[in-house]
Structure formats: structure tokens, C-alpha cells
């Protein structure tokens, strides 16, 4: 009995010791999972001048919004804050490389983020890898740009949502023929056009014409005439923003009344301000819209963005916002004072971005992937609304 009592006491002690050790270990682990207090700098390569300045301003504002929220909420942990350091590239690859090199030389910069256009992103990728500095792409849409662990992308690739759009339109409009507009000098748009064409042709829709334009073109009267001469049931525009707006305006000005669809390049409010009634009723796919997105995070983002900027956020602001939260999430998961290499590994391990405006943002091999795109259009009063076939 005494022996039994002694054994029980010993067992109890053992259990208590184990429990105490467990608690201590758990506490210790939790303590180690805290980011060291301090200021963490992110090098943001801006494009707020040059040909894409309008979009560049949106990306930058979205990123600033995220950094301010993170710091105000203490999201990184006690005493840890985020600072954005901006260097301008003007969408020029050489200037962007120069900016990245300068960020790499500044040991206070733990990560960088960049690029609206894919050729610039492509130029930066080897520099980031050789400098061993994390680079998060916020705007470039060419597939295959991420190179883990150093280069990743929060850009939702437009291809799948455009294919989905074409399927929806074929079902709703039932066109027999379609004429495409495409940038002759932009590989990414060429690929997107080919994917869309494959979808329509697989559904039995004949391609009645392909009209090529160049990115720097401004007069689209002749291309519009060319497309209208093919007498299509649907016109699909797969070009960069300025040509897309110009083409749609020229088609309507020349009296084309048939259906036109395009990509999310016409989603920023500035496009409606410029083109007005020409873009009303033109369907395009989108992952985020201040008017349509209804998640709690999206609504909070829209409200705070509008309060700060006196303007609604667009899809580009959302991408800039996401890029900063993605980096912050990796920082938040680390302990002590992280190195760039460790941060790159942490970024590569992220399976989904916790704080996002898309209602879920999975990351697959360093590339954002959203399937829940919406088919929307501009209404006559300048709001983005779900598209309906009328």
C-alpha cells in the first residue's frame, strides 16, 4: 500500500513536472515566435510617373493603406512597425533595376515589391535572386514570373477569369462569330487572346477577324473600321488600357451597336470618367471592385481608403494592399530579427494570404490564385455592377 502510495505520488510528480515542462516549453516557443521590436523597411518600386502613372498611383496608395493599418493595429507584434521606402522607376526596366540594386545595398530593407508590367518584372527577377532579397510582384501578369524563395507574386493571373468570361458570354450571347483585338507587341496579351480564342472556338464560335494594334497607338478609327467590316456577333478586346478604351470608344463612335467585351483594364474609375457611356454595358472579369466586393475585409478596405484618399480603390489599389499584407504575414510568422533569406523562406511557405479583399487568396508556388472572379460592367451612373445580358 505504502509502495503503491509512493508510486502514485511519484507518478503525480512526474505528470506535474511534464505538464510544467510542457507549459514552459509552450510559453518559450510562443515567446520565440515574436518578431523583434523595431522598424522593418520594405523597398517599394513605384510607377507614379510615366505611361502607367495612373495605375501606379493606385498601387502605391493601396500599399500605404496596408502599412498604416498594420502599424496602427500592431499587427506585426509589440514594438514592430513597417516602413515603406519608395523609389520611382517610371515603368522603365533600367531604373527599376537601379532601384532594386539600391534597396539590396541598404541592409535595413528586408524585402522589396515592384512592377506593373511583366518585362520590368522579368528584368528584376534575376537581380533579386542574385542579391538574395525577397521581391514580391504586385502588378505584372505574365505567368511563370515567381522564382521561389526570392520572387513571388500576389497578382491574380487574369487568364483563368477571362476564359471563364468567354464561356459565360458564349452561353449568354450565343455568338456565331467573334472578332478579336490584340496588342501585337505584348506577349502577355497575345497569350490571353489565344486562350480566349481557344475557348470560343472550342464552343463552335468562328473567329471572323483578328485586328492587331500597338501599345503606343492612339488613333483607333482605322482598326475599328477594320473590325466592323468583319461583321462579327461579338468583339473581344484583349489590349492594354489606353488602346482598350480607345478601341471601344472608336467602335461606338463609328456606330457599332453589337456586344463588346474586354479585360479588367477598364475597371479603374478613371476609365469611366474618360470614356463614359462608351464602356457602359461592356462586360469584363474582376476579382475586386469597391462597388461589388462584399466581404468584411473588402468593405473595411474600401471605407478606410475612401476616407484617406477621397477616391474609391480599384483593382490596382487592392493588389498594392495585398502585397504589403503578404510580406507582413511572413514577418509576423518569424521570430527575432529576421534575415532576408529567412524572410524569403517564410514568404515561400505561405499557403494563403490571411488579410485580403478577395474572399480568400491561396498562394500556389509563390503565385496568387483566385478562382472566384465576377463578371461585371459599368452602369450608366458610373458604378461597377454585375453584368446581365440585355
Amino acid at each position: 500500500m505504502t509502495q503503491f502510495t509512493t508510486l502514485t505520488v511519484q507518478l503525480r510528480k512526474l505528470c506535474l513536472t511534464a505538464a510544467a515542462t510542457g507549459v514552459l516549453l509552450a510559453t518559450g516557443t510562443a515567446g520565440a515566435q515574436t518578431l523583434a521590436p523595431g522598424e522593418y523597411s520594405i523597398g517599394f518600386i513605384t510607377e507614379i510617373t510615366g505611361p502607367l502613372a495612373a495605375a501606379g498611383v493606385s498601387y502605391w496608395r493601396g500599399a500605404q493603406q496596408a502599412a498604416e493599418e498594420i502599424n496602427a493595429e500592431g499587427w506585426l507584434g509589440k514594438g514592430a512597425t513597417l516602413t515603406l521606402i519608395a523609389k520611382e522607376s517610371g515603368s522603365d526596366a533600367a531604373r527599376a533595376v537601379q532601384a532594386l540594386t539600391q534597396f539590396a545595398a541598404d541592409r535595413n530593407v528586408v524585402a522589396t515589391t515592384c512592377c506593373i508590367i511583366s518585362p520590368v518584372a522579368g528584368a528584376l527577377r534575376p537581380v533579386a535572386v542574385s542579391s538574395k532579397i525577397p521581391l514580391v510582384l504586385y502588378g505584372a501578369t505574365r505567368p511563370g514570373l515567381p522564382q521561389l524563395p526570392f520572387v513571388s507574386s500576389v497578382v491574380v493571373l487574369p487568364g483563368p477569369s477571362e476564359v471563364k468570361m468567354m464561356e459565360q458570354l458564349v452561353k449568354a450571347i450565343k455568338p456565331k462569330t467573334v472578332t478579336f483585338f490584340v496588342n501585337a507587341d505584348n506577349d502577355a496579351f497575345q497569350d490571353r487572346f489565344k486562350a480566349a480564342q481557344k475557348t470560343t472556338e472550342a464552343a463552335g464560335v468562328k473567329t471572323s477577324g483578328v485586328v492587331s494594334i500597338l501599345s503606343n497607338d492612339t488613333d483607333f478609327t482605322a482598326p475599328a473600321t477594320q473590325a466592323m467590316a468583319t461583321n462579327p456577333d461579338l468583339i473581344s478586346v484583349f489590349t492594354t488600357q489606353t488602346p482598350a478604351v480607345g478601341i471601344i470608344s472608336a467602335l461606338r463612335a463609328r456606330g457599332y451597336k453589337g456586344p463588346i467585351n474586354t479585360s479588367d483594364v477598364i475597371s479603374p474609375p478613371a476609365v469611366f470618367k474618360k470614356a463614359g457611356e462608351a464602356v457602359v454595358g461592356v462586360p469584363f472579369p474582376i476579382q475586386f471592385s469597391a462597388d461589388v466586393s462584399s466581404t468584411k475585409e473588402a468593405k473595411a478596405f474600401v471605407a478606410s481608403y475612401e476616407k484617406k484618399n477621397k477616391d474609391s480603390p480599384d483593382t490596382y489599389s487592392a493588389q498594392g494592399y495585398t502585397a504589403i499584407y503578404y510580406i507582413a504575414q511572413a514577418l509576423r510568422s518569424m521570430n527575432g530579427k529576421p534575415t532576408r533569406e529567412a524572410l524569403a523562406d517564410a514568404l515561400a511557405k505561405i499557403k494563403s494570404v490571411d488579410r485580403n479583399v478577395y474572399g480568400g487568396l491561396p498562394m500556389i508556388d509563390g503565385q496568387a490564385d483566385v478562382q472566384n472572379s465576377m463578371l461585371v460592367t459599368w452602369s450608366a451612373n458610373g458604378k461597377i455592377v454585375p453584368w446581365e445580358n440585355k
Binding site: 498611383v57 501585337a184 492587331s212 500597338l214 492612339t218 478609327t221 477594320q226 457611356e277
Partner: protein, 295 residues
């Protein structure tokens, strides 16, 4: 046939813009001896000023055109007096003027970027003529007809001014030799100011008409006109307005037809092959003087 005719008119209208722009560019070169890289910015600024006159002050279409034309002229005079007059005073030569004009081009482009917040803007629908005119076989947008007429009127008017009036004679005299013209009683300072004003105004007209018809008012508007306008001057002949107008129209038509019947990718290539062919086969251009040289 209908498509051919429609594209012919499209090319003619586009070429008319090149011609209008080229007239101003050629005037500055033949009279003032300046290869002015800032000339494109006059067109951008004219379009921007015309746009703001409509959106901020509700100006009707003719007033918007007048604001653009006058604005282009004033910017050109200001640039001439700030940038080129000091160089002229020390006889700095063409290279100095070219470098200065590049600097002013960058400055004016940047300012235009700030004025438009780096956005591409468009004249609001309903503020300019946008109906299609039925010509029987084809329908033509009203803006294309206005652009084509604008070139015809401007080219004829400026040609008459230069060839048939005393002011024109003074301009030609200054273009040949400023000192000799002054000794002959020509007020060369006034001639220079008038030439700059006229050149800026015609480029401004090209800018504001182009901005309206292409729905693109931006700081980059002048860049597109610059190369094609230069090509029109070279092909047409530096010292003949008629040549520039004809060459501009030809360039526009070639551009549109190459895109329609060959490939967009070759479009600019053909334009510059055309330019190169003229430089080799006929360096003085279509109607340029055999012995044209800057004094």
C-alpha cells in the same frame, strides 16, 4: 470597296493631323533654323488647355479649338523667348538649340503630366461634333471632315501668307539670313515671334483636333505626332508647306493601308522606309527647293 474607301478617309484624316503638325515643325526649321524637339509638347499643351476650357469653363467646341490654337502659340512663343532667344543672341548654332529644345521638351512633358495627373483624358461626349455624315457609299465622322478641312485651310492660308505677302517675304528673308534681312529693314525679332506663334498655333490645332478625335488628351499626345510630323517635313520638303501637307496625308494613308492589308507590325516600318527612300532618292523632298540651305 466600301472598306477601301472608309480606310482611305481614315488615313487621309490621320495624315491631315501629321500634315498640320508638320507645317509648324517645318516653319520653325526653315525660318528659325531650329530642329525643335519640344514642338510635340505644344500639341500636348494645346489639347490639355482645350480640354480644360471645356470641362472647367464649359467652353463650346469652337472656343475650345481657339483656346488650344492660341495656347499652343503662346507656349511656342514663351519657349522661343526663354530658350532660343538667348542662344540666338550668342549665335550658339543648331546643336545648342537642339539640346535646349530636348531639355524644354522634358520640362513641358513633365508639367503636362502633372496637369493631367498622368491620366489619359477625353473630351466629354456631346462637347464636340460626333455624328456620322452619310456620303452615300460610306459614312464619315464629322471630326474627320473637320480635320481634313483644317489642313486644307491652314496649308493654303500659310502658303499664301509666306509666298504672297510682305510678312511672308520677311519670314523667308529671315530664314535665309537674319542679319541681311535686318539690314534690309526687316524687323527680325517680330518675324521670329510671328513664326513661333504660327508654328505653335498650327501644332496646337493638330493637338486639339487629334485629342478630340482619338479620345486621348495626355502629356504623351505630342510624342506620337512628333516623329510622323518630322517625317512629313522631310518627305514634303523643308521649305514648302504644300509638300508637308501632301506628305502628311500620304503617310497617314500608307499607315492605315499597311495595317489593313499587310500587318500592323510592319506599319511604322513602312513609314520609315518611305522616309528613307525619299532621303536617298530625293533629299529635297517632294516640293522642297533644290538649293535650300540654312544660312
Amino acid at each position: 470597296m466600301q472598306l477601301f474607301l472608309e480606310q482611305l478617309v481614315n488615313g487621309w484624316a490621320l495624315g491631315s493631323l501629321y500634315g498640320l503638325f508638320g507645317i509648324g515643325f517645318g516653319l520653325v526649321f526653315s525660318t528659325l533654323g531650329i530642329l525643335n524637339a519640344a514642338h510635340g509638347t505644344y500639341a500636348s499643351w494645346a489639347a490639355i488647355l482645350g480640354y480644360f476650357s471645356v470641362t472647367q469653363f464649359g467652353a463650346p467646341f469652337p472656343v475650345a479649338i481657339a483656346v488650344g490654337v492660341l495656347g499652343g502659340g503662346i507656349v511656342a512663343v514663351a519657349v522661343d523667348q526663354i530658350a532660343f532667344q538667348p542662344l540666338r543672341a550668342v549665335k550658339a548654332g543648331m546643336l545648342g538649340a537642339l539640346i535646349t529644345s530636348i531639355a524644354f521638351s522634358i520640362i513641358l512633358d513633365s508639367l503636362a503630366g502633372f496637369a493631367t495627373e498622368h491620366q489619359s483624358l477625353a473630351f466629354p461626349a456631346g462637347t464636340y461634333p460626333r455624328q456620322m455624315v452619310d456620303l452615300g457609299v460610306i459614312k464619315v465622322p464629322q471630326m474627320q471632315i473637320i480635320t481634313i478641312l483644317a489642313l486644307l485651310v491652314c496649308a493654303s492660308g500659310i502658303y499664301f501668307l509666306i509666298q504672297k505677302t510682305r510678312i511672308g517675304a520677311a519670314m523667308r528673308a529671315v530664314g535665309w539670313n537674319e542679319t541681311a534681312a535686318a539690314l534690309g529693314g526687316v524687323n527680325s525679332r517680330m518675324v521670329i515671334l510671328l513664326t513661333a506663334l504660327l508654328a505653335g498655333a498650327t501644332s496646337g490645332l493638330a493637338g486639339v483636333l487629334g485629342g478630340i478625335s482619338t479620345s486621348n488628351v495626355s502629356y504623351a499626345l505630342g510624342e506620337g505626332l512628333m516623329l510622323k510630323g518630322f517625317a512629313a517635313v522631310v518627305v514634303g520638303g523643308y521649305d514648302d508647306i504644300r509638300g508637308t501637307a501632301i506628305a502628311g496625308i500620304c503617310l497617314g494613308i500608307i499607315e492605315v493601308f499597311v495595317a489593313q492589308y499587310i500587318s500592323t507590325s510592319f506599319r511604322d516600318g513602312f513609314t520609315y522606309i518611305f522616309l528613307l527612300a525619299f532621303l536617298v532618292a530625293r533629299p529635297r523632298g517632294l516640293l522642297g527647293s533644290v538649293n535650300f540651305t540654312r544660312a
